[in-house]
Amino acid sequence: MSVVLEAQQLTSVRAGRTLFSDLSWQLAAGEILHIEGPNGAGKSTLLRIVAGLLQPLEGEVLLFGQPQREDPELWQRQTLFIGHKPAVKAELTALENLHFQSRLDGVQLDDPWQLLETVGLLGLEDIPAQQLSAGQQRRIALARLFYSQAKLWILDEPFTALDTRGIDLLHQRFAQHLEHGGALLLTSHQPLTWSGERLQRLRIEAADE
């Protein structure tokens, strides 16, 4: 299997505290890396470093062997990051959100209604997002996954606020993504109902000085 993502000796210090140091791992196509750890261990920080929002104090991240710093634009084209905040515009409806978001992701949506149905938002499409529940807003954000062609998905707590059906739906979509040679990096407090050797676990804990 080809290596999609590689981290080399990552070290991060936030607010004077060492979160992790000398962290190295590899992620091959078709694999999931599940980052585990207690609150404040630096899971989100690690994800944001991989996404390119933060700079590690030391170390480097490589995508297909290319260092992040060399061509950030290429990096952004190949990856998709969804953080804690859903990046949904509260004033716009679900349909409008999908419309603009898909353009920002460089995708021409052939059938937005189909997508709305897939994520279970059909019938709610013309209500401003601020009037929807947290889980429904989350679904708008996660709809990106159903058209995304990005090779690497970076998801921070994707199951938050989702009901069991939503979680199942995501699992199915993850499976498709992996079958197509994609890779997935995620944090989650929910146990992953994932079988097999495709799942890697990485546990980080705040290092004591």
Binding site: A51, G52, L53, L54, E73, L74, Q76, R77, Q78, T79, F81, G83, H84, K85, P86, A87, V88, K89, A90, E91, L92, E96, F100, R103, L104, D105, G106, V107, P128, Q149, A150, K151
Partner: protein, 227 residues
């Protein structure tokens, strides 16, 4: 793979910002009402005589414009920061300064341009001689894009603080001084019958400089703020 070009991304960002802003019309209208009310207060405070009012009209209108720019500045990035769109902006495969310029343009379209259109009403209320109305509008037309760009720098720097209001005015108002001086001088010189050509040229130069450099600062500030 995201194959969108910079222009496609820029246009999507601008369209979305416009769509969002048009859903929240009060955010557009309130700063304008603020200007009108400030302008109304002055005759009540200093008396309605045309000689005093005409003398201070330009200054009052410009200071009111500066303050209203501050008032509306939080709108620039606050919501984007809170709902996570600011970090998605950083992750788009396009140069961030270009996208920042796009956001500045939309902000100007909804805050600066209405102010230019509103200027004759303020000039009327303050009894500014009608010969100077044109030049007042011209200075506002050149000056408000600078206001939008500079407030964008301040707003991007303070967006993650949550309570940036007072700090923002401390950061920004000193930087507005050249704009205030040259804009007021342009109108003044028209009032005394000399040519305002030089001042307008100077203002235009400042505007070009600001619109070139400010997006770079905004981009750097956004990167720091999404940390």
């Amino acid at each position: 793979m995201n194959n969108a070009s910079t222009w496609q991304l820029l246009s999507a960002i601008m369209r979305r910002d416009l769509a969002v802003a048009l859903r929240r019309r009060s955010d557009i209208i309130n700063p304008l009402l603020f200007v009108v009310i400030v302008v109304t207060l002055f005759p009540l405070a200093v008396g309605p005589g045309p000689d005093i009012l005409g003398r201070i009209a330009t200054g009052v209108i410009w200071v009111a414009a500066l303050l209203s720019a501050l008032l509306g500045s939080e709108r620039l990035f606050r919501d984007d920061f809170l709902d996570g769109n600011l970090e998605q902006l950083v992750l788009l495969p396009a140069p961030l300064p270009v996208l920042a310029l796009g956001k500045i343009s939309v902000h100007w379209l909804l805050s600066g341009l209405p102010l230019v259109i509103l200027a004759p009403l303020c000039a009327l209320l303050l009894k500014l001689p009608i010969d100077a109305w044109g030049i007042l509008m011209l200075t506002l037309l050149i000056g408000t894009p600078m206001l939008s760009a500079m407030t964008a720098v301040g707003a991007a720097l303070t967006v993650s603080l949550g309570r940036g209001g007072a700090l923002l005015s401390l950061l920004l108002l000193p930087l507005f001084i050249p704009l205030l001086i040259f804009a007021a001088a342009a109108v003044e010189s028209t009032l005394v019958g000399t040519s305002a050509y030089g001042h307008v040229l100077l203002l235009a130069g400042l505007m070009l400089l600001t619109l070139t450099l400010a997006p770079l600062a905004v981009a750097a500030a956004i990167r720091v703020s999404v940390n």
